[in-house]
Symmetry: C2
Subunit: 286 residues, 2 copies
Amino acid sequence: MATIGLLHPGEMGAAVGGCLVSVGHTVLWDPDGRSRATTGRALGAGLDGAGLAAVISRSSVILSVCPPHAVLEVARRVAERRYGGIYVDANAVSVATAAQVADIVTASGAAYVDGGIIGLPPENAGHTRLYLSGRQAGEVQALFRRSALEARIAEGPPHAASAVKMAYAAWTKGTSALLLACRALARAEGVERTLLAEWALSQKGLPAQCEGAASAAALKGWRWVAEMEEIAASMAAAGLPHGFHEAAADVYDRASRSGGAQPAPSPRSGGRPDPGTLDAVLSALM
Amino acid sequence: MATIGLLHPGEMGAAVGGCLVSVGHTVLWDPDGRSRATTGRALGAGLDGAGLAAVISRSSVILSVCPPHAVLEVARRVAERRYGGIYVDANAVSVATAAQVADIVTASGAAYVDGGIIGLPPENAGHTRLYLSGRQAGEVQALFRRSALEARIAEGPPHAASAVKMAYAAWTKGTSALLLACRALARAEGVERTLLAEWALSQKGLPAQCEGAASAAALKGWRWVAEMEEIAASMAAAGLPHGFHEAAADVYDRASRSGGAQPAPSPRSGGRPDPGTLDAVLSALM
């Protein structure tokens, strides 16, 4: 059984850490300066609080699971302390950013494994994959054996895991942002009712998809802005049009400042998001 | 029964004209300079060839159904001849462009009705709507009674019909372009196989949707470029992010030059598009 560092567990990170704990590993995190909600989640997942110095000196593997805008900063703080184990960046960043992280941590003596998580925070098996790539990906994959998080090797170039995450989220989060913009356009032009009547005939799933997109954008948009920028940079680097995800970044930036953020829908509401959130998000976009 | 002018019947226009013929109206078109394929379709739909002067002098209603980049030119040619009937622009253009068309034709004495067609070329009832707005929209709606094309009044501002069409196509054609860009990104990064394996788990419909999008983009991309630009302009005018549809215009522009254009899938192929088209389109994007 291994000791693994986790920087910095939010909702996704705590669940990933919980998977490691569930199969017998020790997972350390650094509670310094983190919120009460984060501390509660980390405790719930069975993670052990430790200072950053202890996380670095005791962990054979460090997993970075954080918002994409914080990725380089986390890597630098670990590299400054000359970490020599395996550093896994499992975040939603471009191949170019993943390569920067790899340069930072390998320069200080660590080995780099690239990662990308697809799916919801892993609580039950079968819903979430951690893609891994790089020479020591197999060692990281082995840590998750028999846990609810399925670790898969992404074949291909060293940063294949990040590339898969980018291409996957380019569709899922790109379409959510686009859908909100379409609905906002209809509302701005005074034809929302007519559009909804047409959707009821020919695009039946879209009204519910709008509500889900608005709810997610209000809650998580703040950390999707940088993710969309990473995807736009990936598109540009591949010679593809990057405007989709620059626009999506803009949508999530506006949505996250909508004041419509609501806690996740409760079972009592039948799991449906609050329709007031959609109005708040559309107003913030327009 | 009325005499109606149709400028200029392509696949959609011929089917719309056929709907009018099917309920007893006379539909005139101008064969001057049009292709053999167009002439064949117009004949098949029961339209009567006539010079532009005859179309204008004999028609109580003129329907413009043409690619969006040709909309102003068609309106000008009709206005030059001082057309005094009802001019319906049923094309995929922004409210601002529709207003320009209205200015052009009303200055010469015509009445303007705004239109927007949603769905495939109408052959059987229940699959296609013609949205109409403006003071005389009801007169145009009446022409289609009992035909396969359902004419609906779009409530709201004078150019509501164009606005509905923009918001609707912003999603359908925007997502098709976005999907092709996502797949191209995975291919460019060398992770397409891994992405397809993930899609097989969590986004089952996407591979087939890619093939359909590529096939449509190769065949019709040339006329969707201007449509995406009209949508981008609509987004910008409403203060919304316009990058989605600028990128989509770029995708369709590249795809239309892919050389992958194939005739519509035959029943013999089970209605499935040729997979070679997807490769040709992705190569053109990258």
